[in-house]
Amino acid sequence: MKAKISEEQLNKYSKNMDNNISAKDRIIAWPRMGRIDIPLKALLVSLGAKVIIPPANSNEALELGVKNSIEGICVPYKLNLANYIMALNQGANTLMMFQAPGSCRLGNYTKMAQKTLKRMGYEFDMVIFDMYQSKMKQTLQAFWHVTHCLNPFKYYKGFSLGFNKFFAVDEAQKQLFKIRPREINKGDAEKCYNKWLKIIDETNSIWKAKSLVKKIKKDFKNIPIDDKKFVPKVFLLGEFFVVLDPYINHDIEKILGDMGIEVERQIWFGDWLEGVLKPSFLNKKESHRARCVKYAKDYMKRPIGGECIETIGDTVYAAKNGIDGVIHLLPFSCMPEIVSQNILNKVSKNEEIPVLSLVLDEQTGKAGYITRIEAFIDLIKRRRIKINEINKDKKEIINV
């Protein structure tokens, strides 16, 4: 029994957070994913920390990541590593990252990145949120470690600013996806979205941050839209990182929006964070995961790590709620999503919903990618018209 305990303890992630760097000198950076930089910056700055935001993911960053990581690893790691390197080059000395052991290779990311960066000769301190045991305590501990802030009001301000900004960014994106295919003057929604991102970034008081969501909803209503336009709706599912990061998925929401397709995403960073950090007894609403497990029942009996069960559950949910199609994104060699890709074939057939799986990695060519999306959209549109005609015929028969 003794040996067992020590084995478990040895296997715990080393929490030897260095205290070499004093809290004042810390300059904090974290990997980029979509626009999570805005809320996180607000949180850390209000705790009194200095931050550096590495440049957004780009070809240059990807090249840097590919150069320094092993061949077989998935794209999200390569981009994360590039973010770290860029941030360290700009002068950061503390890196923050979360991890969830047991999901997939993600649990190994921080360990590998730490080793690789040390090998490259960088000196830094990596602060890890372990998203498995006592999440809220872990999170607070990590933030205390980097800032040494003792003022509880500052924590309150930081967290409420951060959370509200997360929700505001999510809301702005939701509105953007809804308005973009319907707008009369091309580019209005995008302009409005960028304007609001700036406002969200600049907001610095809790009251203003709390009212952001309402204001965004109101402002997006002012954009002139074509109500009668026929707009098919598509679900965007798949692996967390590639769905949320506009660089690696070539801004698929924009491509689809410009083609006149409404995109609905089921993965939102704000939702996810709320689900992870909030104690379970405060959650009155059915969580996303619980819904997915319920819908995926016929195809999967057990969660297998990653977002596999979410993908399957959401696809079934989409089919039952009259969504026109599902676009499934996955990084090359992603283990959980390959399982869901295997299962999706049957789901698509049984539930009668078109599914397009797109594999993304550093070799993805944009032209081929767009061609496939275009073909898929054509299929969806034709299918919808057909269904509408059948329904019309039925109605006429009833009327006669």
Partner: protein
């Protein structure tokens, strides 16, 4: 007698994935529960092609092979098939998602009617080997607890026999056959071979003769002694991982990192051979880890990647080149040591000369 055999219900076990490490246990357990066990044929190219047709192209070779074995069992007329889901083998020590979701994949890609026995082993959630066995028995409509417990003992008996034989150095195939028939053999006396390597690979890649292209036999022919994960104890493997300052993250980590680390740290081998399937997630990390440590310790390493298109000639060429390199390295080391030996010999000669005078 043959009539009784026919009456017994059939249970199919595919010769893939967990077969290569756990089959003696499965065999002992289900045999004693009263089943007639049917194993699928050995992997062939046709069988792989059957599997490839069913799954998406990104899936790794072992899963494709597994699907092929299921088809093979169905063709044999076996309608109850054992497909375990081994989620984790320790607290937060998880398996690859594809192995965890094996029953999910099989359920959704095969359109023929058949019954799947799909117990879960998940030690993170507290589902140990006992729950695993009870779940399997429940799905087979067996409720007699005493029978299940005695069957488990029968399974452990065969498994321990197999592990002990394999550890002593009996080849995997022979150990498996003997364990199942309840025999116990000792290792044949072997000539000391000039070179030795350790192979880090999943059991289902290494011991499948089609997937590994008979790697073990090829090495034997070249006069190289190959050590595998079966030759060391579990505790040794765990200790070696900790000695390298790594943690056990994957369920198969002991078979790969642990084994390689043990032989590398104890300086028992001349080189490391890693054998992994293309697109294998855990392997990409584990091989990299060992590659890093091997480089630090100046240990030669060969990484062979296989998929369904791999040609045997290419693998052989790389293997020969690696073995040549190892033997040249060893010869050089000997030559370095030789001048000392020469001096000793000459001194002895001098003494002799003096005494003669």
């Amino acid at each position: 007698m043959s009539n009784i055999q026919d009456i017994k219900p059939k249970l199919g076990i595919p010769r893939a994935i967990s077969y290569y490490n756990n089959f003696p246990f499965y065999y002992g357990f289900f045999k004693s529960l009263g089943f007639n066990i049917v194993i699928s044929d050995k992997t062939t190219t046709k069988l792989i092609n059957d599997g490839v047709k069913l799954v998406v192209s990104d899936t790794c070779l072992p899963i494709k092979v597994f699907a092929g074995h299921i088809i093979n069992l169905l063709d044999k007329g076996c309608n109850t098939i054992f497909v375990p889901s081994i989620q984790s083998t320790g607290y937060k020590i998880n398996n690859c998602s594809k192995v965890r979701g094996l029953p999910e994949i099989i359920r959704n890609i095969i359109n023929r009617p058949f019954r799947m026995i799909e117990p879960t082993l998940d030690k993170t959630e507290g589902l140990g080997i006992k729950e695993f066995c009870f779940e399997a028995a429940r799905q087979l409509n067996i409720k007699d607890e005493e029978l299940i417990k005695s069957s488990m003992d029968a399974g452990w008996c065969m498994y321990n026999n197999f592990i002990e034989m394999a550890r002593e150095g009996v080849s995997h195939k022979e150990a498996m056959e003997n364990a199942i028939s309840g025999k116990r053999t000792k290792k044949k006396i072997e000539l000391v071979k000039p070179l030795s390597v350790v192979i880090m690979a999943h059991g289902y890649n290494l011991y499948d003769e089609r997937i590994s292209m008979n790697l073990l036999k090829k090495l034997e022919k070249m006069g190289v002694k190959a050590y595998t994960s079966l030759n060391i104890t579990r505790q040794n493997a765990i200790d070696s991982i900790h000695r390298l300052d790594e943690i056990q993250y994957w369920a198969n980590e002991l078979d790969l990192t642990g084994t390689a680390a043990y032989y590398m740290l104890n300086n028992k081998v001349d080189g490391i051979i890693a054998l992994s399937a293309f697109g294998c997630g855990p392997d990409s990390l584990m091989v990299d880890e060992i590659q890093y440590h091997a480089k630090m310790r100046n240990m030669p390493m060969l990484h062979l990647t296989i998929d369904e298109h791999t040609g045997e000639a290419g693998i052989l060429t790389r293997l020969e080149a690696f073995v040549d390199m190892l033997s040249r390295k060893k010869r050089k080391e000997f030559q370095k040591e030789q001048p000392k030996n020469k001096a000793v010999i000459s001194k002895i000669n001098e003494k002799r000369v003096l005494t003669n005078i």
